[in-house]
């Protein structure tokens, strides 16, 4: 799938990248440009946050990078594999083996226990999980005594930690988290963000997180700002205040209060 040139050009430093990535929906009057020739690189072993006002294309960017959505133009790589050339079946395999996911809500199968949910991608692939790694992930996330519980027996924060553990369990190239704290109260949210941070610092994973919340973005190494389908700005080593300030500039007024985001999304 990948050419030697590609592999040589981005050997280790990049977990994923996109080149001239465009995505449009509809035609005529309903024509919407979600992504407009975006070039982006996701650094390996880093925690990247993607921010932007509603409709800026941040979720679409994530979906295209993760192989969940097709692109209108441009190329996307995860590791050394070019997604934009893959057929449906290979794309499914790639998601299974190379990408970890966390969604805002409904991350877990209600019929499976926490442990079964965590190992599900590997079970589907028919691979044995690396037990040592799995133990490390479970202990890092503090889920040891919750493994036999069903999702309905876990709190919202615990459910997101299980989702996080599942995303980490197969040691993917990178983890995509789509508003992982959107449905949580601030304490549980902070806990989940700290685990994502730990996943990067201690377990050397790569995390891309889409969020509305400047406080959440402050956990990242790098914040990318999207507006009207383009990356318009970035902050290295962000603080919540800096992010909030940048958002205010972007939207040309006061940013949405983080507290309202949860309601809007649900």
């Amino acid at each position: 799938m990948s050419t030697p040139v590609d592999a040589a050009a981005w050997p280790q430093a990049t977990a994923a990248r996109a080149q001239g990535l465009s995505k449009t929906y509809g035609t005529g009057e309903t024509h919407v440009v979600a992504l407009d020739a975006v070039d982006v690189e996701i650094g390996r072993g880093r925690f990247t946050a993607v921010m932007g006002p509603s409709g800026s294309g941040k979720s679409t960017l994530m979906h295209c990078l993760a192989g969940l959505d097709s692109v209108t133009a441009g190329r996307v790589w995860v590791g050394e594999t070019e997604l934009t050339r893959l057929a449906e079946r290979a794309l499914t395999r790639l998601r299974r083996d190379k990408v970890g996911f966390m969604f805002q809500a409904f991350n877990l199968l209600p019929t499976l226990t926490a442990e079964e949910n965590i190992t599900l991608p590997m079970d589907i692939a028919g691979r044995k999980p690396d037990q040592e790694w799995l133990d490390r992930v479970i202990d890092t996330l503090g889920l040891r005594d919750r493994l036999k519980h069903r999702p309905s027996q876990l709190s919202g924060g615990q459910q997101q930690r299980v989702a996080c553990a599942r995303a980490l369990a197969s040691r993917p190239e990178l983890i995509f988290a789509d508003e992982p704290t959107g449905n949580l109260d601030s304490r549980a949210g902070a806990e989940v963000l700290r685990f994502l941070r730990d996943a990067v610092d201690e377990l050397e994973q790569t995390v891309v997180m889409v969020t509305h919340d400047p406080g959440a973005a402050a956990y990242a190494d790098l914040v990318l700002f999207l507006n009207d389908g383009r990356i318009v700005d970035e902050i290295h080593g962000p603080t919540a205040e800096a992010v909030l300030e940048r958002m205010r500039l972007l939207s040309g007024g006061s940013p949405q209060a983080p507290g309202l985001d949860g309601l809007r999304k649900s």
Partner: protein
Amino acid sequence: MFRASLRSFLAHKGRMLLSALAVLLSVAFVAGSLIFSDTVNRTFDRLFASTAADVTVSPKTAFSEDNRFTSGEVPTLPASLLNRVKAVDGISDARIDITVQNATVVNAKGQQVGPTTGAPTIATNWSVWPRSPVKLTSGHAPRGDGQALIDADTANRKHLRIGDALRVIAQPGTFPVRVVGIAAFTTTNPGAALLFLDTPTSQARLVGRTGVATSIDADAVPGLSDAALERRIVAALGPGYNYKTQGEQAKSDAASLATFLGVIKYVMLGFAGIAVLVGVFLIVNTFSMLIAQRTRELGLLRALGAERRQVRRSVLLEALLLGLVGSTLGLAAGVVLAAGLIRLMGLFGMNISAAEMVLRWPTPVAAYAVGVVVTLVAAYLPARRAARVSPMAALSDVEVAGTGRSLRARAVGGAVVTLLAAGALTGAAASSDASDAASLLGLGILLSLIAGVVVGPLLVRPVIRVLGGALPRIFGPVGRISQRNALRNPRRTGATASALMIGLALVTGMSVAGMSMSSSFDHQIDKALGSDFVVQGANFTPFGKEISDTVRKVPGTSDVVPLRYAPVLVTLPSGSTAKLTGAAIGAGADHVVNLQYMAGNTARTLALGRISIADSYAAEHRLRIGSRVPALFANGRRAVFTVGALTTGNGSLFSDNAALLMGLSTAERYLPGSQDAALYVNAAPGTDPKALRASLEKALKPYPQVAVRDQADYKALVRGQISVLLNLVYGLLGLAIVIAVLGVVNTLALSVVERTREIGLLRAIGLSRFQLRRMIRLESVVIAVFGAVLGLGLGLVWGLAAHEVLALKGMKALAIPWTTVVAVLAGSVVVGLVAALLPALRASRMNVLAAIAHE
């Protein structure tokens, strides 16, 4: 609220589709059977009204013999009565009628001209009167011996033309005729073949006596009522005869047909009943799932101020709409079904014009009543559940699938019904009275069916844990998710499986009973039939003396023992009367049948005026050796029998469960016109049975109405008759299974919709389309196999109980049809796979992102 219901109904019409189909099928069978039987009834009412004379005078009979076991005696009256009838004031026309149904007409190739299944061959005298239902279309009326008319339908079917030679095998003997004309029905031909002879030939050749008639038909002058004419004729002839007005005659003709049509009607209504029963599950599931999916919407309605009553009503209104749409389509489908049945009847020779289809008002009323009431009843529980949705549901984000609700009330109710059912079935098995046992069995089947339905959801967890236990091991995580999904909502899985359970339980129960009957007959034949060969007609129809004489003349036989049927009405010691199928056996019975006696022997059975009966029947009716039993024959003669012997009842092979046997001399004395119904033949010592069979068959070649059978053939004949019955039942239940499959499709399809987000998630984290399809297929198979296991269990219990009841009627063998059991299990896997096709396809085509974002 009405608008909300209508919108909701239209919005969910795709999901209602299968429910509507279930309503449609049930209503189609109700409407179809009513239209069919109304049409057939009107057609025949017209025919009988047109064929019957204003007043018919016939010989007095004590009772009418069964069609199946008849003595073959033709009741007659003197033809000279005609003059006395004609002398009655007010007669416009009177004629003698000679009609027999015991003649066989054979063409030049030796093939039967008349129908060989069901409808009779009627040989009668040709007479023309104004309202005659047949008219001559070509040739001329029969004049003298050797001339005959044939009806046009038969002529067409058998390619007969004027001038063709036929042979008529009648009771007095065989005679040749030539076709001199063709007569056509002016109304519907009921499917019979008709042969017309002139009156003297009919008397001589069909009855064997000149100066007799089977009835005298009289028509009244205009203005005189049938009843008034009947009174005048009765006054002239006295009470020694049977009199019937046109209306009465038509009614009694219709009654004899009604048993046949009744069977069709009840089979059809049986279809409808099962379709309704199974359809209810489908509808309940659909509404339950729609409501589960709309919990938030309903919560919002409640939050906005809708009353519980209004919510309930809105759901019931949707059900009403579904019922109306389903009934309307079902009514239309019923018309098509009736037309199909009428055409099918045409294949059997019954020509009813589909254009004359009768749609009386009760048909649409019944159709809508069934469709609407069933839908409303099925939707009632889900509607009540909908009304209980709290306004808080609008705000909560938890999955509401009704999994957590307690099944305790169900467990208690289920246990009670199960105990009652077990009691009834045990009672049926233990009972010694056949009719008590049968009603207990019916009750037990009904109760255990209810118990199965109530308890089904409770069995989901334990049974599917076991059944699906191997899935995770064989299919890994996909198997595990399937198994868990099937376990997820026991109520839903239980209801879906129940639909399948009903059909399969009936199939299993019937096939246990049928196989047991078959094997009991095999045993009886082995035990009771001792002769090398049996010469017998189809359906135990008696045959003429000529055939018996022919068999006797075949060289190489040692015994030729005839059997006749002598239906009698006996008066029991209690004073009540019972109609029994007596069997009369000729001398030498011990050489050809093995009767087993509790007391007495064959000689005491066959002596003049003596009988033997089954020991069990004797005990039940307090009869002993030496008891005197007054008996009345169909021809009105009376006898007082003496019980000479008691048998173990194995003689019931030759009659009914009373096993009343008598000597041939007794039958000849009281029923002088009776005919042999079977001949038991043994090969003489030194004669090869094969050679004897060949010579018997050669000698009987001119008589296609009888066949030579050895024991194996005889068993095959009996088995064939039972399997025809079973096939009919299987066909009936096929429909139930089709609806049950629709139910599985329905549940899966709605589950797939309900689990859209889950499916999206699974696809996002790397489940391939193939794995997703397999997941749904496995869940479907688990549900189907669960239903099959419940059905088989219930069916085997029914079969065992039915067998105990059959044992009371002398059918003691038990046969479990293991091949059917295995086939049902294998079939249920196929059912599961087929049911999952569309839902799996749909799930695998879902867009991952849209699925994840699905509310």
